[in-house]
């Protein structure tokens, strides 16, 4: 590739700083004892501890999956610390009590937790390592009956809801990483939108890993009751460290009859350096269940960070006429590897799913789309449309597609389209001839490629995602 396509990827990761706070860290290692310790630290009820222990025992019988198209050194699960919390975090009466150092951290990340400075329209739950440091806009949300709080709080304040829905979409036995998460999860966000309520603002969780050698195992549970609507955003960053860190989260979404849940992620975990040293292992299970008729769950993700991404946000289309959507942009650069996609399981009649996946590979990055569309025997009239496009920048990267289609009902319609393209020198020269720089040209071409996905993002995120993409690819064009 010419000069134009080699130098746009390598700008410094700007969220790579470390916050100096005193942390309460559980020593590395995993055992029933550690799980009891975590549970005790959180003053959890007996039923939850039992659930964790069941998950742990199940996990011991499971093997780490090796079918993804990624390569990494074996993970020593005994070398990971499963709990880290800034010492200053106690149950807070208000956000004014949050450690100023933590507030500054989030300011640096562009997230303001202080109410007076906050942009209207977005409520934020900030998760720092293993705990939630604060949730904003709660009073406003409470007026509408919307519950938005940390997972720990939900366990204390709304145990009936947690008990009813925890593990209802992703059971602890689901897979290796989900079982691990179920055993050791520390915090996360919880949201419940009551019947008929349209959540008045965007909800957002901002995840930050700070401590070294600590895994982050958060759990998010979002329930939209009948005819409720909620839009949820998730952002993630981590310091630059030369060791790999494990992030094994679980997200469960439940949409009851007529409800709509829209979940958007801009994932920018530290990706490791240009030689593939360090970075986050992002092994995440995300799944939504359209439990009721006419419900809808929509996943939109922009994945630019992490050394390795293993993630398949999925939808179980149980209710008749329910709708599942998956819009994804996954970017890999340098030595990053991503194996990501979705599963759409059609159970109910006239269920409909749409998958739009855009994979961008630069440097030595390897990007795999893995998707499964399953139509069960009773899903009369089920429809799926899948579009899977890959773009290559340079000639040392790779794009792979693994679509699985299983149809057991002959009234179903399943379509799959795929394409692979390369950013052409001719495109870049054309843009330059009109006065644009190579960086602008690539960012414009890539944004154009991702347009169908960006259109699905909430406004604030769309701009961020577009900028992030430009930064991530900077240096891949020279």
């Amino acid at each position: 590739m010419s000069t134009a396509i080699e130098s746009l990827v390598n700008r410094e990761y700007q969220y790579g700083f470390v916050t100096d706070v005193d942390s309460d860290v559980v020593p590395p290692g995993l055992s029933e004892e550690v799980i009891r310790t975590i549970s005790a630290k959180k003053n959890e009820p007996e039923w939850l501890l039992d659930w964790r222990l069941k998950a742990y025992r199940r996990w011991l019988t499971m093997k780490e999956p090796h079918w993804p198209n990624v390569q990494y050194e074996p993970i020593d699960y005994q070398a990971v610390s499963y709990y880290s919390a800034p010492k200053s975090v106690k149950p807070l009466q208000s956000l004014d009590e949050v450690d100023p150092e933590l507030l500054r951290t989030y300011e640096k990340l562009g997230i303001s937790l202080t109410e007076q400075k906050m942009l209207s329209g977005v409520a934020v739950d900030a998760i720092f390592d293993s705990v939630s440091v604060g949730t904003t806009m709660r009073d406003e949300l409470a007026k509408h009956g919307v519950i938005f709080c940390s997972f720990g709080e939900a366990v204390r304040e709304h145990p009936e809801l947690v008990k009813k829905y925890l593990g209802s979409v992703v059971p602890y036995s689901d897979n290796f990483f989900a079982a691990l998460n179920s055993a050791v999860f520390s915090d996360g966000s919880f949201c419940y939108v009551p019947k008929g309520v349209k959540c008045p603002m965007e909800l957002s969780t901002y995840f930050r890993i700070n401590s070294a050698d600590t895994g982050q195992f958060e759990r998010t549970l979002i329930i939209a009751d009948e005819a409720a609507t909620v839009s949820y955003l998730e952002g993630c960053t981590a310091p630059k460290r030369s060791t790999n860190q494990l992030h094994a989260a679980v997200v469960e979404l439940v949409a009851l009859e007529g409800a709509t849940v829209k979940y958007s992620t801009v994932q920018n975990w530290y990706a490791g350096d240009e030689n593939g040293v360090g970075g986050i292992y992002n092994f995440v299970t995300k799944r939504g269940k359209c439990a009721g008729a006419n419900s809808k769950i929509s996943w939109t993700q922009v994945e630019t960070g992490s050394a390795i991404t293993w993630k398949y946000p999925s939808v179980i289309l149980q209710g008749d006429n329910s709708v599942g959507e998956f819009y994804s942009v996954a970017v890999v650069n340098n030595r990053q590897q991503a194996d990501t996609g979705t599963k759409m399981i059609h159970i109910g009649k006239n269920t409909k799913s749409t998958i739009v996946s855009k994979g961008i590979s630069a440097g030595y990055g390897q990007n795999s789309y893995r998707g499964k569309v399953q139509v069960l025997p009773k899903a009369d009239g089920a429809r799926n449309y899948t579009q899977c496009d890959s773009m290559l920048i340079g000639n040392r990267c790779g794009a792979h597609t693994f679509p699985y289609i299983e149809v057991e009902n002959n009234t179903a319609t399943v379509e799959h389209e795929a394409s692979t393209s390369k950013i052409g020198e001719d495109q870049i020269f054309y843009c330059k001839q009109r006065g644009l720089s190579a960086e602008q040209a690539v960012s414009m071409i890539v944004s154009g490629f991702c347009r169908e996905v960006f259109q699905e993002l909430p406004m604030e995120f769309a701009v961020e995602a577009q900028q992030l993409l430009g930064i991530t690819l900077e240096g891949s064009v020279g």
Partner: protein, 248 residues
């Protein structure tokens, strides 16, 4: 404005331009003609700075600066515009966004403020009339799925918005029917000003019925073998290129 001296250039170690001399002054229209493979498009690409071509010798001075030292975008920002023979498609990027970004870069280089989006819309819609383009084209992806004629008109629209000092039209007439040719040519003519210049690269004389050149140059084997006034184009039309080549 433009002073080309002994310019030699090639692609993939093959020398195509073997010593070009050409001077273009403000207000002039130059036609560069010649048979296929004579180096016409190479000249256009080299002036625009296409990195696929290598300059092997000679010099090009543009408004007192060494043009060959400038990046393609710097040349564009200083007022050089190439209307591509094969305009490139950019899926997902709207024409409006592309053009406004380009205009803002050019304006920045001229020390002007970025254009307000509404003001831009007024400007572009006015210029679209010049090339008889439907404003709906603004929301379509750059050149994506455009017909040959639409692509060429889109090039002239970009030129009309960017208002270059030196426009180079590379085979703009190729693939155009007679109506489209007339529209494109009229667009070019209306953009003509005493302080800008145009180089029209073409194989056929027919475009020159609409865009009347002050000078005609015949390129063959990488050299300008004959220069003259507009009547030279007519003579070429009548007698073919062999006549000049034999004479050279």
């Amino acid at each position: 404005m433009l002073d080309i001296q002994s310019l030699r250039a090639g692609i993939a170690e093959r020398e195509i331009l073997k010593g070009i001399d050409l001077v273009v002054n403000p207000g002039e229209v130059h036609a560069v003609m010649g048979p296929n493979g004579s180096g016409k498009s190479t000249l256009a690409q080299v002036l625009a700075g296409n990195p696929a071509y290598e300059v092997l010798g000679g010099s090009v001075t543009y408004k007192g600066e060494d043009l060959l030292e400038l990046e393609p975008e710097e040349r564009a920002q200083r007022g050089i515009f190439l209307a591509f023979q094969y305009p490139v498609e950019i899926p997902g990027v709207t024409n409006a966004y592309f053009l406004r970004s380009a205009l803002n870069e050019v304006r920045k280089a001229r020390g002007q403020e970025e254009i307000d989006p509404l003001e831009f819309l007024d400007l572009v819609e006015e210029r679209m009339k010049l090339v008889e383009m439907d404003p709906a084209m603004l929301n379509r992806s750059v050149n994506t799925g455009f017909s040959g004629g639409e692509k060429k008109r889109n090039e002239i629209l970009q030129m009309a918005v960017l208002e270059p000092s030196l426009a180079i039209l590379d085979e703009t007439d190729s693939g155009l029917d007679i109506d489209a040719l007339r529209i494109v040519a009229e667009g070019v003519n209306r953009l003509k000003r005493p302080d800008n210049a145009t180089i029209v690269v073409t194989h056929y004389q027919r475009l020159l019925n609409y865009i009347v050149p002050d000078y005609v140059h015949v390129l063959a084997g990488g050299r300008i073998v004959r220069s003259g006034g507009k009547e030279l184009a007519l003579e070429l039309e009548e007698r073919g290129y062999d006549w000049v080549l034999d004479a050279a």
